[in-house]
Point group: C2
Chain length 351, copies 2
Amino acid sequence: MKSDVTPLKWDNETLYLLDQRILPHQEEWVTVTNVEECFHAIRDMVVRGAPLIGFTAIWGVVLYLKNNSNASLDSYIERLNYLRTARPTAVNLEFEIDKAIIRGSEFHKMNGNWNGFYDEMVQFAKDQMTKLLEDNLAMAKTALDELNGRLEDRPWNVMTICNTGALACGPMGTALGVIEYLGENKKIEKVWVSETRPYMQGIRLTAYELVKLGLPHDIVVEGASNYLMGRNMVDAIFTGADRIASNGDSANKIGTGTLSIIAKYFNVPFYVVAPTSSFDLNINSGDEIDIELRDPNEILSVQGIRIAPNESTAFNPSFDVALAENITGIICEKGLISPVTKENLLRVVNQ
Amino acid sequence: MKSDVTPLKWDNETLYLLDQRILPHQEEWVTVTNVEECFHAIRDMVVRGAPLIGFTAIWGVVLYLKNNSNASLDSYIERLNYLRTARPTAVNLEFEIDKAIIRGSEFHKMNGNWNGFYDEMVQFAKDQMTKLLEDNLAMAKTALDELNGRLEDRPWNVMTICNTGALACGPMGTALGVIEYLGENKKIEKVWVSETRPYMQGIRLTAYELVKLGLPHDIVVEGASNYLMGRNMVDAIFTGADRIASNGDSANKIGTGTLSIIAKYFNVPFYVVAPTSSFDLNINSGDEIDIELRDPNEILSVQGIRIAPNESTAFNPSFDVALAENITGIICEKGLISPVTKENLLRVVNQ
């Protein structure tokens, strides 16, 4: 299984990125031929979503090697450190750049040149994307099994927030990958899409992917979760995670924690879907997760039009934390963690 | 005390309504000279807010009488029933129309014509607005007493949703009237304003009033309530109500029920502020409250710009119900109902 939506293509030694800033109404590809163009594509949010930023960075390294086959190791490291600064808060970017620096340093010290390293990195980039596809597919299968065991045998109404589809991940999504897989298995009646203020990832990007997938969906405002769940209109909720603490507290897009409390109140199963690379076993709980505060103008203006009075200000935390006690289960490529406790989490992750 | 913001003026036998659809950046008045224009002004949301809709409807009756001094009683009733259908969830509209039909029927049957009824209704409309001002001031005083008894003696961080200020009520607000009064008593540190998607009453109208009042405020997205309350950044929440059932279940703007559950989860006091005219003792619980489903385009487009894919649809319930069990207290002009039970509610209302 592979999503119909492809945000990144490698073709004829060139990287093509679907410009997510102008979706859903325009589908345009940005051509990236060198590491500087890759930097700008990441910084200017042509691509977003932690895994996709990571993949884009790896292809940036590949492009550097293509254009600079005689570069010194120092130049290689300098340009990769430059690429790292495109989105300072994106963990996957840092992670992939660190790996590429270590790998490149070892290769260059052993061989004295870059001969063969370009091909190695092309293969590595492809392998990474294949691995994520396999992992996300494993998560989707786990989710289907879990719902089959818990819900009536009929198509379900599922809800999601933000965008966790192919647009965020590359080959296949996490939470939205689950929903895609449920759809392929004829288990989707309707998808409730939280519009995801302020950046509108739900209404712009998740809805775009659901249109491409042909899955029936209705967009709702965040405030509607009590209305929908109080009327038994939601069978299950799937969200992604940016970082999961060892006790299972999960940081994700602002609104996710709110959604988890409403779900708990109405006994609607609430699942976090994320690969183990999003787990941070060095922290004990969500209290230790730093939350990015973003530009208030993301709230105060929409599509460049100021909505709020000129004198008003806004407070714009970009993420929040769903507490473990409000999460029915965390689904990673190694299986289901449920109930969400530190013991269960470590058992599944370390198996 | 009277707010600096005036949403409705009666001058030279003409009704002028501040066009709330284009606030905060433009202040324009819509001229209303007959009952049909009054219907459209209510339906098209030139005015909104249950009490203001009620007052606008009374002035609509006045305008009908001005233009149709020889109308039959049947015509009078027919046109008032037409006006009643402008907005389904607002109890005040129904309430005022019912009263005007009864009052008009008695008058016409006794006198055989409308001579003098126009002047009587003009005076009635003015008296009603004076009464609401007095009632809302009584509610504000009750709220201050309640918080003084419950919270530390310092300025507080309070949260609200939608717009329940003078723009919603006429002379002075309900929940926002409370906040204004707390501000006058130096008890406001900051007001958290839920932006209130999809119609943006918070970011557009409440922020507009808070600017006029000079009260410090930050606008937040609906999804941020878990973030704020989980970090003890909210001392109390005040919301309005469009209709309150006899058990205390309260219908209000979509997102209010969601907010009440988050407040309960974090033990943040949550108050509904509404005059007894918003109480519907004929219904037992929120299940019996008819919720208006509005145009999906309110979600799909912002400021006339389509955000969602063209193929996507939205589901747009305009209100939801905060359950009595999640409301710390209901504050009406007769006092505080807390804990919120049918017995307490009837005791306060009938005193």
